[in-house]
Symmetry: C2
Subunit: 749 residues, 2 copies
């Protein structure tokens, strides 16, 4: 380990690292917490969406006359109810409301607001759409073919030279890496190259998108919704509705799961447009079928990975071709998948090429470490095969090639202090890894990487009249972050955790905050809270000095109180935050700290997972018997919630690895848009997932925090595949590794 | 006028002084705006209050067993559901929930939460209270008698020496003034001394108190309510419930009138306690009868005023004895009434003595310029008589004695730049004052004063990504203040009014703000907004300098944009706020300004009113034919809303003068607790009220703003009385000057 490792000893902190009860727990388990569908307004209407039954069709005409004539129908909107939008918002508008064509089965064609649910549904039936059905494509490989039906006939692939003259479904080609890959393969003792495919998985949040919109003609329009980023919702909806940002106030409800899936708008602009047209508040809630068909899953993929090693087990070259199916519009997931593919390794010659492929499917949206589990599945499967061929322990092989501080990453920057080696060393010594395998069981390991992000962050911290503190943040709490915020404020101020409350402020009460995604919240909110607390401490020191008539430099903050210090100090007992707060009116007014920043320095995070599995050779069913996550948290603010993130990511990754996946018929219609047919893991499918927190501090954060929410979903696909390989001798190169897939692989063997 | 008068020329401002449309108008007239009773929560219960039928009774026992057994009843609370509270909150708790005694008819004895209204009302009937009825007193004079029934048997009058040994209903004696009053009267050419009485008037807001409370056992309890001060509600409720301030988040609804009446808590602590006990959200709404009987009116009074003048019309001495009936608990209204009594005059010898008298009536609460119209009625009636006796024009008499800059006020401080003389001069030249009187009509004038306040203020101003601006303030908008806030932010930033939106933030999103009362909002919010805007401008200048790679001093803010300036300036075109905002992420993060202050320097305000009336000698009915308000606004930010405040205050004052008043029977029960019997003026009772804005800038505010909301209710009682005197020759010394009162006075003449 580097000399630069910060001490992250438990002893340095008073409340950081403890496990107090979360402030939203009782309300959530007793049903009092308010989610997206839980707010009401007088005169509220119900909004419903008419969706395309066709995966690809030109919309010749929409006749809403019969629906409009239905008693109780108050407004019907189509694309004509949205004005011209900035170029940057065209795809977003098209995604939430079909323009000239329906681009996927489930694409919104029109929306209705009516006095009740039954009337709204009846009105949908009365809307007549004249479709010209077009040929469609939902498979990533088929969509790349020269003769594939074109989703957008004006799409020309970006990132290729010369600029293409014919349109295609490939939105972009992206390339990352450095060195001379061909020379590296020439220098290899041997090379393994394999092809892989993954199917799209859904985030599977329990709570569907839901909102309540009240459009105001002259004042502030109000929107209540379940989202990971209400500032994003505000700015996007304002652009789509053609109003200024200041005219829309968005409040985030409690969120029943997001996992990246609630980083886009779906219903919100429609509800606002319906409210604008009807003059009434409008509530909209998606059904589960709508969620699957129209509220984006992550990408499916087709991949080829090739890695060469020398005789000592050093990787000489690594190359990946990653075709990501992005749904009906391009996004950024291919980029992240291509960038992260080889990020765990210190490579001299590396290249990853991503293709962003448009299809007649719902638009991809982030799903926990978006893109990374997909490319990681391919890369870590090949790494496993290389270790086998080398007859090396797979942890030793990875340690030999692991990225370390100062190494140039495969996607560009050099690493600061990172925890991959320590994580792998911890796995090597872990009881799970040391344990003997039961008969018929196989064991797999894999490592994973995630960038973690910072970004636009604004915080206010107010000291109340009784010395308790309220922290207002602008990011929805999707994983217990309110507790972590309270812990950091309490630590910095030297007051009890119970004396701090964190709330999620609405968009009109705080500066812009980037969405709760990219594992940014504890890092960047925390950084800003610490700065705001330091501001408040400075103000309180000045107030206490004023109360004592001392110069400002003659006081200091110690343990939640101000005390005299230095040569000019008087003989005064310490004055507590509660005493200073009680006198705030007499000493100058309310006491607060504020901090606005575009936070940089989010430390990357690495994980290594271990799985023991057993495969039923008659059915192809895989049972996970033991599963362990070891991951670097930088510094775990609330260890129980860090462990929860590790367990949650692993559980979702195991589900994706083994069972989850979109199934399309030849008609381009999704065949499993419900939790009965889209099979997510339930408790009985999983063992208790063991966790081990590594703490290699992030030098970019005052307390050493790294994001922890996403890395944990990256290794499971490969971990499970490698364990199946260990148990059966068969390499499964397709996700989900559902029983029929595994059975086929076994049979082909 | 003083040389120090700031120029408040219209030309100095671009948007200040214009009359744009208010941002809350359409929502309010179309019914979309959400008031106290307009929010719902899943599983919400209805809360109702059991009230004492007796004006004074010991509560021997409360049996809730039968009510608790009723199906659908979820919680019943009494005084036993509130723990010990700090001494400062004991009266507040006692007022919202009777302790050992019921102190007035309508005093809350218990409260019920049930699944619906009918069940809650039925439950109230089933609660059995064992009362020991005690003798009561509701009249201010009777309550001061030695043998009066004691409302609190542990009350000893404060402010008298030696300290009394026997309890009484006089809570306090307060004295203000300076000089030698006896010597002043000795020097007078003549003296007039008269006695007066006023009855309690209610604020008469349209919307009754209403709230929705959701108590949370571990997180933030939430309260939605109609109030003039949600921070006051938060801190008060936290104290009554025994929780920390940070554990309660209060949001202010739109407010259907307040006028001072919504500066106290009534239902809020009960709803929270019911929610705590039931585990469910609880909504409570007062009936109109409850509003009158339990949500405090202002004081009634008994007064004696004595003023002496020399032969030139200079006042030599002024003395007032002001007995204010304060209801069941003492407050601060007597103090304000006694302080303001002679504030319009420059007096060498002045004394006003106030008695705060406790009775078996609902606790007094602020009503627009609390206390001032009462003492002003007496003083300005005597002034009118003096002018008559001197045979001087009443405006000239007042001008001769008017307080001016540098004069020592009757309540202590010396006046800064003030507008009384200019106001009187304007009246003298006003067409109304110049107009000939119709036959049978009488004309009265009076002047009035109000302090205006500043106080604890916290503001955040956020620049949005499109360069529009959101201002978050912590005071409910009771008179169009959002528009005024937008105007001041727009003026300071040099951007259009339409690009600024002001919202009322909840208590967890902003620092403490004193209640919207004391005419403080436009003054102190405005002052803070201007400072916050200047902070944001400084940040934007730095950002633009960064974009141009110029030193910070080489740029300046001009007209909503940054431009290079000075010798080091480059040759760059100005960069607008929208352009800077669009690049905020690249230049450092969100752009904001924040300001917390205990605002001082609120300038006092004076008004002079003119009324023409006609009295029907058969019925005693007074008709107001013409009414004019002339008042100093310092600087009118939004003149239409300033005029609205002038008209509203005058309308309420005329109502109080002529018809409004509490009527108690011998049984101590209010006989007119409804709008049919408590007669407020309707449109047909009033002429269009003419207004004239005077602008003598307040030197304590960057734009010269003075509070305008309260002074306008001060002169009407005396103005009407003086006009009746002019019309009939009879001095009516009792308010309301209802037809029977006037008829009796005419007959006695």
């Amino acid at each position: 380990m580097s000399d630069k490792v910060l001490t992250a000893s438990e002893n340095d902190f008073k409340v950081i690292g403890t496990r107090p009860i979360r402030p939203d727990g009782i309300d959530k388990v007793t049903g009092r917490a308010l989610y997206g569908a839980d707010r009401y307004a007088p005169g509220m209407l119900v909004g419903k969406v008419l969706r395309s039954p066709h995966p690809h069709a030109r919309i010749r005409a929409i006749d809403t006359a019969r629906a409009e004539a239905l008693a109780g129908v108050k407004a019907i909107i189509t694309k004509d109810d949205f004005g011209p939008v900035p170029a940057s918002q065209k795809a977003t508008l098209y995604n939430v409301m079909a323009q000239d064509k329906a681009l996927f089965e489930g694409h919104a064609i029109a929306a209705v607001a009516a006095v009740d649910n039954a009337t709204a549904l009846k009105a949908l039936e009365l809307i007549q759409v004249d479709y010209e059905i077009l040929p469609h494509v939902t498979d990533v490989v088929a969509a790349m073919a020269d003769d594939a039906p074109l989703v957008h006939d004006d799409n020309f692939t970006k990132g290729v030279e010369p600029k293409p003259e014919t349109p295609s479904n490939i939105a972009a080609r992206l390339e990352f890496g450095h060195g001379d890959v061909d020379a590296g393969f020439d220098a290899a003792s041997f090379v393994i190259e394999k092809e892989f495919a993954t199917e799209a998985a859904h985030q599977g949040y329990i709570e569907p998108p839901a909102c309540l919109a009240t459009y105001s003609d002259d004042g502030s329009s109000e929107l209540w919704c379940t989202t990971q980023g209400h500032f994003m919702v505000r700015d996007t909806c304002a652009a789509l509705l053609g109003i200024t940002v200041s005219r829309l106030r968005v409040s985030a409800s409690e969120i029943g799961g997001g996992f990246g899936g609630k980083t886009a708008v779906y219903l919100e602009p429609l509800a606002l447009a319906l409210s604008r047209k009807s003059g009434r508040p409008v509530k909209m809630v998606m059904s589960r079928s709508e969620v699957f068909r129209a509220a984006g899953p992550t990408s499916s993929s087709s991949m080829r990975v090739k890695i060469g090693v020398d005789k000592d087990g050093r990787i000489t070259a690594a190359d990946a071709l990653l075709n990501y199916q992005s749904g009906a519009f391009p996004g950024f997931i291919t980029m992240l998948g291509a960038m992260s593919a080889f990020a765990c390794y210190n490579l001299e010659n590396v290249r990853s090429v991503g293709h962003e492929v448009i299809t007649n499917r719902p638009m991809q949206v982030s799903y926990r470490a978006p893109g990374a589990p997909i490319s990681n599945f391919a890369v870590e499967s090949v790494i496993d095969e290389l270790a086998r061929k080398l007859d090396m322990d797979p942890i030793e092989f990875r340690l030999k090639n692991a990225a370390r501080e100062g190494d140039k990453s495969s996607y560009g920057p050099r690493y600061e202090q990172i925890g991959l080696a320590k994580t792998l060393e911890t796995v090597r010594e872990h009881p799970h890894y040391q344990a003997a395998l039961s008969k018929g069981h196989g064991r797999g390991v894999a490592v994973g990487f995630w960038f973690n992000f910072g970004g636009l962050t604004a915080i206010s911290l107010n000291v109340n009249s009784d010395g308790t503190v309220t922290v207002s943040v602008g990011r929805p709490d999707i994983g217990g972050s309110r507790a972590s915020m309270c812990l950091m404020a309490a630590e910095e101020l030297g007051i009890p955790y119970e004396n701090v409350r964190t709330i999620i402020a609405d968009t009109s009460s705080l500066g812009y905050n980037d969405t709760t995604d990219g594992s940014r919240t504890t890092f960047s909110n925390g950084l800003a809270i610490i700065q705001a607390a330091r501001q408040a401490k400075a103000i309180m020191c000045a107030r206490a000095a004023k109360m004592w008539d001392l110069p400002a430099e003659a006081v200091e903050w110690v343990d939640g109180a101000v005390q005299p210090c230095g040569p000019n100090a008087g003989d005064f007992p310490p004055v507590s935050i509660a005493e200073i707060a009680a006198k705030a009116a007499q000493t100058g007014g309310p006491i607060a700290g504020h901090f606005e920043v575009n936070a940089e320095g989010a430390g990357v995070s690495f994980a290594a997972h271990i799985a023991d599995v057993e495969v039923d050779e008659d059915t192809g069913r895989t049972t996970v018997h033991r599963y362990t996550v070891v991951q670097d948290a930088g510094k775990a603010i609330h260890p129980a919630y860090v462990e929860g993130q590790y367990q949650g990511g692993a559980a979702q990754g195991i589900g994706w690895a083994l069972n989850e996946g979109y199934i399309y018929g030849d008609d381009g219609v999704m065949q499993n848009p419900g939790f009965l047919d889209y099979r997510m893991p339930v408790c009985s499918d999983l063992p208790m997932i063991e966790t081990k927190i590594i703490e290699i501090p992030n030098t970019g954060h005052p307390y050493g925090v790294r994001g922890v929410g996403e890395t944990s979903i990256v290794p499971p696909l490969a971990t499970i595949a490698n364990a199946i390989r260990s148990a059966t001798g068969v390499r499964v190169n397709q996700v989900p590794m559902a029983p029929p897939v595994v059975l086929k692989a076994l049979e082909e063997n």
